[in-house]
């Protein structure tokens, strides 16, 4: 009887897992201009040729904070998608939010003769000594979606990415345009102390300074969890009620929690801003529950990084800093962009 029960449960597990398994995302056509885009994607630059065929394998490492982060998991799919096109073999290393793992991964890349490293570190300061060693070993270093601290630019070859500070600025600028007579804002921050949380907050605050936009309150979450964002939003509603005109949430999935809290309180006309441009954000913009999603194109970022690596290997000139355009996704512009696959 017990064996029968165990078999039955095992069958349920297998069935459940099989039923909900889906295809992995395959990528999209990205925007290409630096800055801000309302226009949708442009074709990627295909003027750069593959590196001269020396017959040797060109190994490129992608060192990321964590693949449990949806955006980083998607970025990795883009590395895999474009690797063949550029003639690279790509490998991923996870820091698991521990900078020491990033340092160890860089050490592995040096030992195994990687041609290039694209890194999105948990703590950019912590990896500088390791990057110095990698540079000495002749490895091309590309910062990905995160810049090295000022004054240390000599330890990387290039940086490709969106600027989280800029995302905060764009959120504030859009808000100021939408509410020329001023508005009361509550800010639901991302994971407390996280690089993106700090920059998205700083960019926002710096831009609204001296304007008629008033921040009623600002709280950060313990993790990038929708449940945390929802609880904070519920408390903001109790504290400020109808005084709230705008919610600035640092990420789209967190905005889902804020929207649910607003729905439960019958405050569905509040202007909600999210950052990320993921599928959840797009859905909410289309449904009208979220006014704006500020998107990042990891597909474009990856191609920019690969293009720079190719140029460096070919001895061509390259752009040291490539800002990937931020997509301004509103109900008016949403059709200009491909539906995100993450």
């Amino acid at each position: 009887m017990k064996k029968l029960m165990a078999l039955l449960l095992a069958a349920v597990l297998v069935f459940s897992l099989a039923a909900c398994a889906g295809d992995a995302p395959t990528g999209d056509s990205p925007t290409a201009e630096p800055g801000v885009s309302n226009e949708g994607p442009e074709k990627p630059d295909d003027s750069t040729e593959k590196p001269a065929d020396s017959g040797e394998e060109i190994k490129v490492a992608f060192i990321t904070q964590s693949l449990s982060n949806a955006s980083q998991a998607y970025a990795w799919t883009q590395f895999q998608k474009y690797a063949d096109e550029y003639g690279f073999t790509v490998t991923v290393f996870e820091e698991d939010y521990d900078p020491q793992n990033g340092v160890a991964a860089i050490g592995t890349c040096i030992a195994q003769g990687y041609a290039a490293i694209c890194i999105n570190p948990t703590d950019p300061s912590a990896i500088i000594p390791a990057l110095m060693e990698a540079k000495e070993a002749g490895i091309i270093i590309g910062m990905y979606s995160s810049e090295i601290p000022p004054g240390n630019e000599q330890y990387r070859d290039f940086m490709c990415g969106t600027d989280d500070f800029m995302a905060g600025e764009v959120a504030a600028q859009t808000l100021m345009e939408a509410f020329p007579d001023g508005a009361n804002v509550v800010e639901v921050g991302g994971q407390s102390g996280h690089d993106a949380q700090i920059k998205r907050h700083d960019g926002f605050v710096a831009t609204i300074e001296g304007s008629n936009i008033k921040v009623l309150d600002s709280q950060n979450c313990e993790a990038w969890a929708s449940e945390d964002a929802m609880a904070i939003m519920e408390d903001f509603i109790v504290a400020y009620g109808d005084d709230i005109d705008v919610v600035y949430c640092h990420w789209d999935v967190g905005a889902t929690g804020c929207i649910e809290a607003l729905k439960n309180a019958g405050m569905e006309d509040v202007y909600v801003i999210g950052v990320d441009g993921c599928s959840v954000g797009y859905d909410q913009v289309r449904e009208g529950t979220q006014a704006l999603s500020i998107g990042q194109s990891f597909s474009q970022m990856t191609q920019d990084a690969f293009t720079n690596i190719t140029k460096i290997l070919n001895g061509e000139d390259f752009e040291e800093v490539v800002w990937t355009a931020l997509d301004i996704v509103t109900i008016d512009t949403i059709d200009n962009f491909p539906y995100p696959e993450w």
Partner: protein, 322 residues
């Protein structure tokens, strides 16, 4: 007479510290921020409770049994994404039942592995359940590719989830009624049945339990299966509340659940505890978060406060043993 009254008050305070803590918290916060005791905030607190009571309830049985379960993180994450993914192919009831069965299977598997490797002390159990948690989370990541599943995207109705997540009767959330039925059932199971009392016996002294004829291995599988079922139910209430499921949604609930259980007076040494008092622990922890948000305390400060409460609870528990 005076000394008798003083002793009685001392005993009452000693035995009902959580209740006293809750009252002090309410009074102090209400003075500083009167909105704290508004009807809107009371409804708010009742909504913010979930999914912690389910997870803490399961954890109570594990800790009374003398063990610990860190795999709740992975179980919540996996059960959540599986349930959310199965709404379209199976419908709401099918998805919920599969989610709970999956939770039972994961919990049973934990117990089976622990008994197979002979893990009998908390340190061994701690690391094995941590490992199991990583496996369940990784499976959830593989299934979702780290993407968020939004249940509103389903083509089938999600009315049960909507009712569980945001439905109320008056100002009381529907999920609270579901939980009260479950709580009464689990309390009766623990206090009135041989299997329930056996968990306490096992937690108090495994050797003595074995010598009295109690099947300790079966007891371990039982408590971990309960924890798995409760984690899955917690996952379903979480998905209902936030309308999304992610492969990392369970992170943090293991420490909060242990915090609630210990604050509720269940000894980390096992053997004694109460499912009802755990609920006081849940209330204190959730109220603490709510108060600190209303008072505008930073996230860092909130973490400090939660840590301080846990350390104080364990210290008081140790003092009682002396």
């Amino acid at each position: 007479m005076k000394r008798y009254t003083s002793t009685s008050l001392g005993n009452f305070l000693k035995n009902n510290l959580v209740l006293v803590g809750i009252v002090v918290l309410i009074v102090v916060t209400a003075i500083i921020e009167p909105k704290f005791v508004s009807e809107a905030n009371l409804t708010n607190v009742m909504r913010q409770l979930w999914p912690l009571p389910f997870i803490a309830l399961g954890m109570t049985f594990v800790i009374i049994g003398g063990f610990i379960d860190l795999s709740v993180v992975g179980m919540i994450s996996l059960a959540g994404v599986v349930t959310a993914s199965l709404i379209d192919p199976l419908g709401q009831v099918g998805a919920i039942l599969c989610g709970i069965l999956l939770g039972a299977l994961m919990g049973y598997l934990n117990g089976r592995i622990l008994t197979s490797v002979g893990a009998m002390i908390q340190a061994e159990v701690l690391f094995i359940t941590y490992g199991m948690s990583s496996i369940y989370t990784a499976i959830a990541l593989l299934l979702t590719n780290a993407e968020t599943i939004r249940i509103a995207r389903n083509t089938k109705p999600i009315t049960i989830f909507t009712t569980l997540g945001s439905g109320t009767v008056g100002m009381v959330p529907v999920v609270l009624f579901v939980f009260i039925v479950l709580l009464v059932f689990m309390h009766l199971f623990y206090t009135k049945t041989l299997a329930g009392r056996g968990i306490s016996l096992m937690g108090g002294n495994k050797d003595a339990a074995f010598l009295t004829g109690y099947n300790v291995k079966r007891g371990m599988r039982l408590v971990y299966t309960i924890s798995g079922i409760m984690s899955a139910m917690g996952a379903i209430s979480l998905v209902s509340r936030v309308t999304t499921a992610t492969a990392t949604s369970g992170i943090g609930y293991e420490t909060n659940a242990i915090l609630c259980v210990v604050v509720g007076g269940t000894s980390l040494r096992g053997g004694k505890g109460s499912v009802l008092r755990t609920m006081l622990g849940v209330l204190l922890v959730v109220l603490l978060g709510n108060c600190m948000n209303l008072l505008g305390l930073s996230t860092y400060m909130q973490t400090v406060m939660r840590g301080a409460v846990l350390v104080t609870a364990i210290w008081l528990d140790n003092r009682k043993e002396l």
